[in-house]
């Protein structure tokens, strides 16, 4: 369903992605591991449509549709979700209002009926309960005054509500203690199924103990240099990225 072919991208004239080939079939969870500066975050931003990156080659299709031609909001409505490495604070925007606006914008774009405040609240509370999060989460401004762990949990809450077909997790494990890591992982695992794929981008193997991937890819210097099963992650953990590069 996600098909990346020969993807090249640069930022401010500097080439970061140097020809990426990657395919994530529907229902699978793939991990992308790599050292700092290998292009992991760039890949997640390019897939979700952030401005400032120039695509200089290759293609990305999602369900057979050219993803790169779509606006960020169109990608979201098509089912692509990015869990941010650094979730953005939105002072003055209530979390409930934000979530409902996002959900309804996506429903509208897909020709579905919008949810009224009561319907939304019922749905949000159900997701919160599943994720063992407090209703307080809805009352606060988006990510404002949240701890690192709370911000990541809020990403998972958004993901659970928006129910994407493809979730890109950009170093969602960074800055998480083990309890938060567990909540985040449970949130992702709960969505796993034939209609859900995920691209889990991480520096460390430990997240992959909780979200066990179907495939692991190693991204270095803007290219996928190795792919394998879940045991590849353990190998990387034991031997480091240096051996892979050699």
């Amino acid at each position: 369903m996600l098909k990346i072919e020969g993807l090249k991208a640069e930022i401010e004239g500097k080439e970061i992605l140097k020809g990426i080939d990657l395919e994530v079939p529907m229902g699978e969870v793939h991990a992308i591991m790599g050292p700092n500066g290998s292009g992991k975050s760039t890949l997640s931003y390019v897939l979700s449509g952030r401005e400032g990156y120039e695509i200089t080659g290759g293609s990305v299709t999602f369900d057979g549709v050219d993803l790169l031609a779509m606006e960020p909001e169109e990608r979201a409505s098509a089912g692509v979700f990015l869990a941010f490495q650094y979730p953005v604070e939105l002072p003055g925007v209530g979390n409930a209002n934000f979530l409902r606006t996002a959900l309804n914008a996506q429903r509208r774009a897909r020709g579905e009926s919008e949810l009224d405040a009561m319907q939304f609240l019922k749905m949000a509370r159900a997701r919160l309960k599943e994720l063992q999060m407090s209703d307080e989460m809805l009352k606060r401004n988006v990510n404002v005054g949240f701890s690192g762990g709370e911000k990541k949990r809020n990403e998972v809450l958004q993901m659970a509500l928006l129910a994407p077909k493809l979730a890109i997790l950009d170093e969602t494990d960074s800055g998480l203690d083990i309890d938060a890591l567990k909540i985040v992982s449970d949130g992702v695992n709960a969505l796993r199924g034939p209609g859900f794929s995920s691209l889990v981008i991480t520096h460390y193997q430990r997240l992959l103990n909780h979200i066990v991937p179907d495939r692991v890819h190693v991204l270095m210097g803007g290219r996928i240099v190795r792919s394998g099963g879940k045991e590849l992650a353990l190998e990387l953990e034991a031997e480091g990225y240096g051996t892979i590069a050699a």
Binding site: E73, P87, A105, Q106
Partner: protein, 426 residues
């Protein structure tokens, strides 16, 4: 002779020419007007060489050649829907009794019809020497006079100003007097509006006196027509334990100045002055505040937010004076501007002048564009770019708008902000 004095002369000529046709010709009012005319003759219309007018240029006002609306338009103007049980409607600056529903239980009248009783009240606020106040005194035809006796709950009422003339540029200078006796309360929601095609001048002056323990909540929604000028001056004084809250939305007009002078005269008086200025292409919005802390243990809070789109200009000037007697003053002022275009310009000038030694007084200012990472975050969740921008503008205004607690005022404000965004910035 330059354009500025031409403008002053034109207003003075109106005064000389109108002579006895202005209300109050036989009594003390004639004296007030004559003294005001003298002051205005000396000062002229404010010009940019004056420190307080450095960023706002009135030469377009000087050159417009305004006349008075001597005849009332026969057809009743379209009015916004009523929000409160009582409303005072002014059409081209004159009280329209047939369109108004005045409250009972306290004095709520047209000033023109009650001038004799207003002796000693009219013109009693400080700063009568300001040029625009003098201009108002010289030429005012009418205004709203509210006088709440001790302990009155005045509820919520509306003040509506509607301009109607489109055939020629008219000027009106309403004089509003609002006095709250000890412990009384009132919420006044004011809307000023007019046709988009007409260049008119609305130059209101408010003389506001809040007695001990009284609370006035004054919400002003400035939604004048796009070619209009509004130059408003609020002169407010607050006695011990009293509160004056002013929220002003500046959303219409071609050139608008919202000038507020508030004096905290008794211990533990309080004042909240908040505002939002929304200017689109070709608009100029100026908020200028003077806060006089003259008594101990008073608190003041000011939060002003300006959003500028297209080629527009915003001004915020805020001076806080803390006199020697005003020990334990707690003062705070924040002004922030959001620039939605590269052609927009904001000038901000906060000023603190402190003579007391035990004082907590701070101010801050920020200027910025919409945050790209916030915008992307919203869009990445499926929210279309325009809707995302609107959300961020609303969020930016939130802090200033939070000060408005009256639900009717909140609704009116939300509508005005939404309307502005849809029409002007999208």
């Amino acid at each position: 002779m330059n354009a500025m004095t031409t403008g002053s002369d034109a207003f003075l000529a109106r005064y000389d020419g109108l002579g006895g046709r202005l209300p109050g010709r036989d009594g003390y009012v004639a004296g007030l007007r004559a003294r005001a005319a003298e002051a205005f003759r000396v000062a002229g219309l404010p010009h940019r060489r004056l420190e307080a007018w450095r960023y706002t240029d009135l030469s377009a006002v000087a050159q417009a050649g305004f006349t008075e609306a001597l005849t009332l338009v026969e057809e009743a103007p379209a009015l916004p829907p009523a929000r409160a049980p009582h409303r005072a409607v002014f059409v081209d600056g004159r009280f329209a009794a047939n369109l108004s529903r005045m409250p009972e239980g306290f004095r709520a009248v047209s000033l023109a019809g009650a001038l004799d009783a207003a002796e000693g009240v009219l013109g009693s606020a400080p700063e009568q020497g300001l040029a625009l106040v003098a201009l108002n005194t010289m030429l005012f035809e009418d205004g709203l006079w509210l006088d709440l006796p001790e302990g009155t709950d005045g509820g919520t009422m509306e003040l509506l100003s509607v301009a109607t003339h489109t055939d020629r540029p008219i000027a009106f200078h309403p004089r509003h007097i609002i006095r709250l006796g000890r412990g009384s309360t009132l919420t006044l929601i004011e809307t000023a509006t007019g046709p988009n095609g007409a260049a008119y001048l609305h130059n209101p002056v408010y003389e506001i006196a809040v007695a001990e323990g009284a609370t006035l909540s004054h919400v002003r929604l400035q939604r004048e027509g796009r070619k209009a000028f509004q130059l408003s001056t609020v002169l407010a004084s607050v006695q011990a334990g009293g509160t004056y809250d002013n929220f002003t939305l500046n959303a219409g007009g071609r050139l608008v100045r919202n000038e507020i002078h508030t004096a905290l005269l008794g211990p533990k008086a309080a004042c909240h002055m908040n505002g939002a200025q929304l200017a689109a292409d070709g608009q100029h919005a100026d908020t200028t505040t003077f806060l006089d802390h003259a008594a101990p243990d008073c608190a003041s809070r000011q939060t002003y937010k300006t959003v500028l789109a297209g080629k527009s200009r915003g001004v915020f000037q805020g001076k806080i004076l803390v006199r020697q007697a005003a020990q334990r003053t707690d003062g705070y002022q924040m002004n922030q501007a959001l620039l939605l275009s590269e052609e927009a310009e904001i000038d901000a000038k906060p000023q603190l002048e402190i003579y007391a030694d035990d004082v907590k007084c701070s101010h801050g200012a920020t200027v910025g564009a919409l945050d790209e990472s916030q915008l992307f975050y919203l869009r990445s969740r499926g929210i279309p770019a325009e809707e995302a921008r609107a959300m961020l503008v609303q969020a930016f205004l939130t802090e200033a708008v939070e000060g408005v607690t009256d639900p009717l005022a909140q609704d009116a404000l939300a509508e005005a902000v939404e309307g502005w965004w849809e029409k002007e910035a999208a």
